[in-house]
Structure formats: C-alpha cells, structure tokens
C-alpha cells in the first residue's frame, strides 16, 4: 500500500510517500528532507495531530483576549472539545509566556500554555 502526504512541519512542505507491505504495519517513508517528516507521516497515518492555537478571554485592560497554544501537536479527535473549553474560560492576569493554563489535556501529557506575557 502506498500513501502520498505533504509534511506540514515546516514551510518547505516536502511531498512524502509512505509505503507498507500488506503483512506489516510499519510504514517506510521517502521524500522527507529531515527526520521530522518521517515521524509526521507515521503519526498522520495512525494518529493525526495538530498544534492548537486559540485565544481566551481575560481581565486585562490592554488585551481583551490572550493567545494560547498546545505545548505539542494534539490528537485531532480532542481538538473541538478543547476549543469549546477554552472559549468558555476567563483567565485572571498576570500571566507569563509558557505558563500552563490547562495541564495534561485528556491525559495526553500535553498542556495548553500562554503564548505571551500579560501584566496589566
């Protein structure tokens, strides 16, 4: 079996070909210019993931919303529920870039962190 994918890990966008024989579940990947592409193809075919970015409401005078992100790419099936949870929140400043807003989303070990500082 052969699958064509495009790596989204960096702007180069390598065109990847993943191949696997019918009696094995290991994909062999070609077309990647760096090891991240190989990993991407394997994940994409078994457990696709994306970095989630969003904003949350806060009580700052300067910034009505604060940008947040998942610390790592999150399995796609958890994204919609996470976004709904984020949109229902209101956070209290001060916060620091990198500070954890939600720890260990759905037991994945992945956190939601703030993308910027906000002091007032």
């Amino acid at each position: 079996m052969e699958k064509k994918l495009i790596c989204i890990n960096c702007p180069i966008g390598c065109h990847l070909t993943a191949e696997r024989s019918n009696d094995s579940d290991a994909w062999s990947v070609t077309g990647n210019r760096c090891p991240r592409g190989e990993l991407y193809a394997r994940n994409e075919l078994t457990d696709p993931r994306r970095v989630v970015t969003a904003t949350v409401r806060c009580n700052s005078e300067l910034m009505p919303r604060l940008p947040v992100r998942s610390s790592e790419p999150l399995p796609k099936r958890y994204i919609d529920a996470l976004l709904n949870r984020l949109y229902d929140m209101e956070v209290k400043i001060p916060v620091k870039r990198g500070e954890v807003l939600i720890a260990n989303v759905e037991n994945t070990g992945i956190d939601v962190i703030f993308s910027c500082d906000c002091g007032k």
Binding site: I8, N9, P11, H15, V52, T55, P64, I79, C116
Partner: protein
C-alpha cells in the same frame, strides 16, 4: 509644544524587521530609537497567533506572539529606546546628511526626532477590494483577511457567521482555519490562479483538514446583499475570462479578501528613495542601503516575505550595515544585479566586488526540478538545483566571496529541467 530628540539611529517599525535590526545596532556603542504606532512591539506577529514561526531563526516552532517576544527581548538593551504608540508622519533629509522625523503620539504630542542613519521597517499593507474592482453592492461584511484576523485574534470579535474567502494567500488560508475553530462556517476559498498562492502546508492544514473547497481558476463575479452580504457569485475562468453561463451562487454573510500585500513606502517616497516596480520596495545594494545614503531597509517594506525568519535575517544584516556606515567602514561600491528567465525579482539589486552576497528571489514558475544559475559578465559562475520552486515560496541563497571577484553585471535565471 514640540519635543526634540536626537539619536544615532532611528528604526521605523517595531515588527520582526525593526526589532531584529535594533538587536544588531544594540551591540554597537550607538544609540538607537525604535518607533512604532502600535502600543505593543512585534508588528503583524501580534495578531498571528498560529504556530509556524521561527524554525530557522530560533530553531524552534513558535507562534507569532512568542516570536515577537523573543526578538523584542534581543533588542531590549540600555542603548535602545522604544517609542510605542508613536506614528512617524513626516521624514526629511537634513543638509548635513542626517535625518529629521516628525512623530505623533497621544502621550507626548508632536516630537522632532533627529538621527544620523535610518532603518525602514514599516512592513506592508493589504490589497483590498478597491484594488480588484469586483462589481456588486457595498454591503457590510467585507474585510481584508488581515483586518478580520486583527478583529478576531486581538479584539475577540467574530466577523460573521459564514464566510467566503477570495484569494488563497497565506493570510486567507490561516483565517479559514481560525474561523472554523471559532465556530464560523467557511464555505469556500476562491482563487483565480491555477495553483494556490499560499504555502502548501497551509492548504493542507487549513483547508483539507476541514474539507473546505478550494476553487482554483475561479473568480468572484458579484457580491450581493443590501445591508449585509447575502451571497457571492462565482464563475470558472477560461483563459482568464469568467464563464458566466456556468456561474454559481454561494450564500454567506462575510467575504474576506486575501489578495496580496503591498510594501508600505509612503515615508520612503518622502525621502526620495528609489523604488523597484517589481517588488514595490526600495532598490538596495548588498548592504541593504537604499539609493539615499544612510537609509537602510529590510523585511516586508523591502519585499513581501512569507517567512518571518527571512525577515529577521535580512533586517539583522541591515542592522550590521548601519553600524559599519556610522563607523565609516561600509564598502559601498556597487555593481548591478538583475534577473532574467522565470524570476520575478531579486533583492538586493547591487553587489560589492569581493564580498559574499545573500540574494532573495520570487520564482514565476511551479516546478519540481529547476536550477538557479548566476552569470557574471556573461560567464556562468554558480548554480544550484531546487526540487520544488513555486511563486508562493521565496528562494534565498548565498554566493561566496570568491565568485564575485570582478566588477560587472550579475544576472540570475531559473532554468526548468526537462
């Protein structure tokens, strides 16, 4: 009352470019002022809350605000002063070779700022519907993609409930996902070209992930609605001509335009800086110095970049050149650099004999086997193969000093392999 200030270097714009230039001038003994009309540092990066920045410059994948904080921290040194919330409204050359800026801020009123050298880092603005001339009424609900991005990501307001995006530039693609993730339905992206104008990764993760249709070689021929947009009409193109017999209607209350960026060179014009029609930015030499001595440029004001990392690299080079200029050690002999086949432009437009040079290009073709070649005085002196070239991706290469060992004309071309 007018306040007077004086510095060695004035940086206009505190985006990725201005901050990277200031981070370099900060390493010299010279005093730098960085001026931006926004209250926060980082320019357009502030509203780009998605990830995908910094892999090259910081070796880490960051969101726009994270990248902005990193470059701002590099520039925050005792000999660098920041004036935010301050718009530069006028700029002129002084008879003794320096420059004078007029700037306005709500806090300080009008300031007169003198500097011996300038870095132009004003970024770019978006093309809008006026530049395109799409017929139809003028209802509410029509935005440029960047304006909608600011509204949503900074102010937290939704532009509408269901949207059609005109143009497949990166900002439009990123906005398609952002809208979807914010509960707005995205009906379609409509592109007149046969290929998307944004990065492939953005087509994959912003459209394909959500099953949003991308109509290539299609054009919006009408925007309808009285007070608010009600629908658009879209027609396929045949040799650039809309096939009205095959047009169809898409209901939506919002239309976003993502149809390109134009370098913001009002101030450069006031200075008499010579501009390049192919880029919309200044003509610069290998030191990123414009036609006006002491005025340097980098980032989107010079040519539109798709990668912030390239913006920072270019602006950092300009920052180092400014220090050499003020030291009196800048080599400014300049030979012409031009492009021929399959390239829209090259930056810079001049090279210095015996110095290495960094060149950026915008390809005109889509190809998976192409060779970039450099000819000095008609002699092939350098080449490199690329396995993917496309107009959406800028090419950037470095030519070693040994190659540029004689004066004359350097011509680049892109050859497609059979």
């Amino acid at each position: 009352m007018i306040h007077d200030f004086s510095y060695d270097i004035a940086v206009i714009g505190a985006g990725a470019a201005g901050l990277a230039a200031a981070a370099e001038t900060a390493k010299s003994p010279f005093r730098t002022v960085v001026i931006d009309r926004e209250d926060q540092l980082g320019g357009i990066l502030r509203q780009c809350i998605h990830n995908g920045f910094g892999l090259r410059y910081f070796k880490e994948e960051l969101t726009g605000p994270e990248y902005a904080d990193r470059v701002a921290a590099l520039a925050a040194k005792p000999n660098v002063e920041f004036k935010t919330g301050t718009a530069v409204t006028e700029i002129k050359r002084l008879p003794d070779n320096g420059f004078e800026l007029l700037a306005f801020s709500a806090a300080e009123g009008v300031s007169r700022i003198r500097a011996r050298a300038l870095f132009l880092g004003m970024g770019c603005r978006e093309r809008n519907r006026g530049n395109l001339a799409i017929p139809g009424s003028r209802p509410a609900g029509i935005f440029t993609a960047g304006a909608a991005q600011k509204l949503l990501n900074i102010e937290g307001m939704l532009p509408g409930k269901s949207a059609v995006i005109v143009g497949s530039g990166d900002i439009g693609l990123i906005m398609a996902r952002r809208l979807r993730w914010s509960g707005v339905e995205v009906k379609a992206v409509v592109e007149i070209m046969p290929h998307p104008s944004g990065l492939t990764r953005n087509v994959v993760q912003c459209l394909n992930d959500f099953g949003i249709p991308l109509y290539l070689e299609h054009s919006v021929v009408n925007i309808a609605g009285r007070e608010r947009v009600q629908y658009v009409e879209v027609a396929p193109l045949d040799n650039g001509i809309p096939q009205l017999d095959r047009q169809f209607r898409i209901e939506c209350d919002t239309v976003l335009f993502s149809v390109g960026l134009i370098p913001e060179n009002e101030l450069s014009r006031q200075l008499g800086v010579e501009l390049n029609p192919a880029t919309g930015g200044a003509i610069v030499d290998a030191n990123l110095q414009t036609s006006v001595p002491g005025v340097f440029a980098g980032g989107n004001v010079l040519h539109v970049h798709d990668l912030v990392d390239f913006v920072s690299e270019e602006a950092a080079d300009a920052g180092r050149s400014i220090v050499h200029y003020l030291d009196g050690t800048l080599n400014s002999q300049a030979n012409p650099v031009t492009v021929s086949a399959n390239l829209k432009y090259v930056v810079p437009n001049k090279f210095n004999t015996g110095e290495k040079g960094t060149y950026s290009f915008r390809p005109l073709i889509v190809s998976d086997a192409a060779t970039l070649e450099a000819e000095l005085n008609g002699r092939l002196v350098w080449k490199r193969k690329f396995t993917y070239v496309k107009p959406a991706e800028m090419l950037k290469v470095e030519l070693p000093a040994e190659i540029l060992n004689e004066s004359g004309t350097l011509v680049f071309r892109l050859q497609e392999e059979a």
